[in-house]
Symmetry: D3
């Protein structure tokens, strides 16, 4: 019996949309106020979905305390109260859009979780704008 | 890399469930209070999901400001503060159920969005009743 | 020991902002799309707050099942799936703004609840617009 | 035209994670505070998703009042204000994890709903922990 | 400058409404399913409101991390995953209604917080039923 | 008849807790990760409460479209996608805590609104941390 389990988490971070190879004018033209050089920020809400077989004894796909601890250790501790552009290695040469941040988080969790699990990540930048990977 | 991006919007409208070919008695029997001839109304919440390739330069599937503007122009301006039965062309001979309204919105957005994008629409009539197309 | 207890309820209704003594032009000028003659509608969310002494035996201010039944009987059954302008006696000559609707609901509940209780009503027209009486 | 319709419901129940074949020590080691012998409890939120063809006359997949009544009769009446371990037949020899409870609910609804409908159940144990079947 | 600061927390617990001096029949008659002898449970949501002077240097009424730690230590650790009737000293002879639980929490926090602060506690038993002390 | 009307708004901003007269060590000791020199950020949610007399003709305390426009013009345009420490005049020598930001917003709105209205501002830094002025 395959089932999906979900765990929510959150972190607060600063960022700006900015492509280093572009001029300031082009960044501002394409990204508008989102490219403000002094940054702005968000309360990111994260939804991690793990699909797997239910263990017939324990009745669980994965211990949610274990999943919670993985998310805290690998994601929240790393991104919370950080500036994505300035302090997160993956964004040194990558624009920190919600799409890219979602994919970066997915890769980190994918490398941590057992291969037997399918993994999906949904990331809310605001309650009205969010993304999901894989689609 | 394919990813899904979501944008939420909302509009307030009046409607009644009513099939013109049916007698008032049959409408009331099938649809109950929802067929009240003086109408009732809802705060409709709309979730638009667009799946596409992430642009490797900008890191975006679609500029969410562009998507927001499309939804405002094509959906919110057209349906907000309207009576679906009386004022919306598509419902002149179509029962304005949440299912039909969701499909009408999907068709409008589908005709506007580039074909390279997949499109899904979720429509909340109330926080407890909602539909999604395609399923 | 005085304590406040809250109970939430909801109903869906149609309305338009419209003052009968005014011309259509003046109604439209003052109330804009809210005065649309074909109506629009809302999912109204209602929060009823009752303050009273905690009964030292039962540990309750008021049985919340009783309060729930009063709200259902006096408010939800009367307003749900109705057109406020056309079907609700109190709005025959009263503009159905959220302020007036909140006060009408407060009066109905005030007449039903024991005088020993203080009563406050908060009414959400949308998640972003709401009122509270008494202030 | 196939579309998905959703209906939300809720119930409050007590439970503990506990496997009868295991010692108390093993239960506590694996499930921690969730295995507390005096139980704890949750406000379970239930989301039922039904996929089917939209009836071309009524414009509905299924009458949501009918779906609401099925959920009330088969799920809410049966689980609300109950102790899952002590009072629910299905958990006499089954650990009442969210995964197992979700599957039990799915089976009950599957046996009630017409075969022409696809059925999915999402169950929230808390706003941060939830599961979905089928995945 | 006096300002109010709020902090939210939550815990999951089992309980039943039950007065020891009453017969089972009377308990069931007055409290209905809430008196089920096998218990039921809730995800309690707690809102703590502290009013005080803003420190002119730090710009804070109280360090919210300190307030968060107090709530965790004194409330969440004590009530989470517990049976209020069976395991919480204060309810040995007190009916664990939301009113009484709110007051018990207020007393614990009041004894911990500096006297210079005003304190209010709001406790949600469900999203639709909640109480606040003092009123 | 006095009644309270509420309007919600939101903006996204970056900030850090930082007192210029203090050393970096002291700032970090007192404010922890919140003092990160590269900033972090939030989706601020704003609730504006205006108390006044209901106009006996229009049935409104204040036209909510007018209130919405004031908040957009004076608050959202000024704070959205900004860095509070670097770009907002009022925080050149003031720590941008939620308390101080709430008071700054209250002062701006107070100077704009007619004196006949009472004004209260609630500001959410996160869904779990928020403040209200006046208390």
């Amino acid at each position: 019996m395959r089932i999906a389990v979900f765990r929510k988490a959150h972190f607060n971070a600063a960022h700006r949309l900015h492509i280093k190879d572009w001029s300031d004018e082009k960044n501002e033209k394409v990204f508008g106020v989102c490219s403000n050089r002094y940054y702005h920020g968000h309360n990111y809400e994260l939804e991690v979905k793990v699909i797997g077989e239910v263990d017939p004894i324990t009745g669980m796909v994965i211990d949610l305390k274990v999943l919670k601890d993985i998310i805290e250790e690998k994601i929240e501790k790393r991104f919370d109260h950080r500036n994505l552009n300035e302090e997160i290695e993956e964004f040194k040469n990558l624009n920190p859009t919600t799409e890219n941040l979602c994919f970066v988080i997915w890769k980190i969790l994918r490398a941590t979780l057992d291969e037997k699990f399918e993994l999906f990540v949904r990331l809310y930048e605001t309650p009205r704008n969010y993304v999901e990977y894989p689609a």
